[in-house]
């Protein structure tokens, strides 16, 4: 079974249509250079705005939730790299109600390709890399400013956390899209978990009260995308009731999130009956 799956995926003919779709989308975004540059500029602006909030907070205080400015900047950068990468690849999934209304989803259903695969490749937004760039710069400044005991595990965490974190946010977007099949008009509801998750992830989870902390750790695994690994990277203990080893489990959280998201997506797609003509 596993081998068969691998042969299927490794077969270039399987992925070729998605590559063609993706290439056409990227080409179209780069066609209008000035417009694209303005869009990237806008994304950089959003990244800077989010960090401005942290900057203003630390203009007033020096420690928040057990972390200093450099620590929160590190945490913020990890969360934002992860979120912006997910937002770039699957952020447009929250336009699913529009796809349903305009009948585009029905067109996708007719093609002999995965619907989710087509949706993802239909509108990858390169401009969102502007926000990733801001976060990478913040990370580059925050790392030397923090007191870090550099070991192999530190490097491993710094590389793996943004990737696994992006996978977590991407799973949240897919889950949110799956919910749209039922919500339709109430699409904004899911923003509470996708964008809200990202917002909560950019701050030390330790500032929340216990129920909110549980919500953003185990229900919406936002704390796994940045806060918990940051504790390990900085070598500091979190709040007394938070085991430090949880920070190693970001990939596990990502895997669980994807299983739930894909199951929900399947259910949602089965539930979908089309809008008629």
């Amino acid at each position: 079974m596993c081998a068969r799956w691998w042969f299927k995926v490794a077969d270039p003919r399987v992925l070729a249509p998605y590559r063609a779709l993706l290439a056409s989308r990227l080409q179209s975004q780069l066609a209008y250079r000035r417009s694209f540059a303005l869009d990237v500029f806008g994304a950089v602006g959003i990244g800077l705005l989010e960090f401005a909030e942290v900057y203003v907070i630390f203009a007033n205080i020096s420690i928040l939730g057990g972390l200093d400015f450099a620590g929160v900047a590190l945490l913020f950068a990890l969360a934002n790299i992860a979120f912006s990468l997910a937002d770039m690849t699957v952020g447009h999934l929250d336009a699913l109600p529009t796809y349903i209304r305009t009948g585009l989803l029905d067109a996708f259903l007719l093609r002999p390709l995965s619907v989710l695969g087509q949706l993802v490749t239909s509108d990858v937004q390169l401009r969102r890399l502007g926000r990733t760039a801001v976060a990478v710069v913040i990370l580059a400044v925050a790392l030397p400013a923090s007191d870090i005991d550099w070991r192999a595990e530190t490097v491993y965490l710094l590389i793996l956390t943004p990737i696994a974190g992006a996978a977590i946010f991407a799973a949240l977007f897919v889950l949110a899209a799956a919910a749209q099949f039922w919500l339709v008009d109430g699409a904004e509801l899911t923003s509470a978990f996708t964008y809200g998750g990202s917002y909560a992830a950019s701050y030390p989870t330790s500032i929340f009260t216990m129920p909110v902390r549980v919500l953003f750790t185990f229900v919406i695994p936002a704390a796994f995308t940045a806060y918990l690994p940051t504790l390990l990277i900085l070598g500091i203990p979190g709040p007394p009731d938070t085991p430090v080893w949880l920070g190693w489990l970001t990939p596990v959280a990502a895997a669980v999130a994807w299983v739930v998201a894909l199951l929900a997506w399947r259910l949602g797609l089965r539930h979908y009956t089309g809008t008629g003509s």
């Binding site: 869009d39 806008g42 602006g45 705005l49 339709v184 008009d185 109430g186 809200g196 917002y199 701050y203």
Partner: protein, 267 residues
Amino acid sequence: MHPLRTFAVFTALGFRRFSAYRLATAAGAFTNTVFGLIKASITVGVIGAAGGELAGYDALTGATYAWLTQAIIAPVQIFAWDELAQRIRTGDIAVDLARPVDLQMTYLAGDLGRAAFQVLPRGLPPLVAGALVTGLALPHTALPYLLGALALLLGVVVSFLCRWLVNIAAFWLVELRGLMTLYVVSVGAFSGVLIPVHWFPSWLASVAAASPFPSMVQTPVDLLMGRVEGAPALRLLAVQVLWVLMIGVAGRVALRRGVRTVVVQGG
């Protein structure tokens, strides 16, 4: 028809239009509430770290600020709005211009109707959640609510007029997304929607003070909470009125210029 009556009719239409989307309203209120919870936690955390008091906010008033902000951002409409720009791009604006009514006033009326509908269903859920989770520090006399309501009304008008000006740019620009993002970012940075303007370091505070953005969120919240009273409150209201006049006139001039660029084809 008397212009005031026309205005009232368009306001009622705006109200009815938005009242049709019940589920969307509930979903929006839920999201506002969850963000309120995160924002109140951050605000209270920061105030705690500052030793229990920061720029006149203690934990309770800080949390109240966070919840109240979340309660008014839907009526004030701090996000992107491109309905008018779309009509300009598609040419539907020609139909609007052919009507024997003032374009800016009818759009303003419609937007006030929208805001009037959203005040309660989008505002109450975050406030109820706030009362249950952190408690709210609200004034016990009527005057702050009266001044606050007036400031909220003016805040909606300032927000509308700014969005109008951004949309009118569609007469000259093909792609508005960059400008729209810049606008939303500026509102986010300077209106007091993310963190109180009172926490800004002085250089940033002076940038904010020179912009119309605090008039949208910070001023209504300050007046509703009774943080600003008496003569300073009237001064803040006067600042709002000044912005309404300035951006309103700029919007009318821009429309008149923009209309000259329109060529209506066909017959």
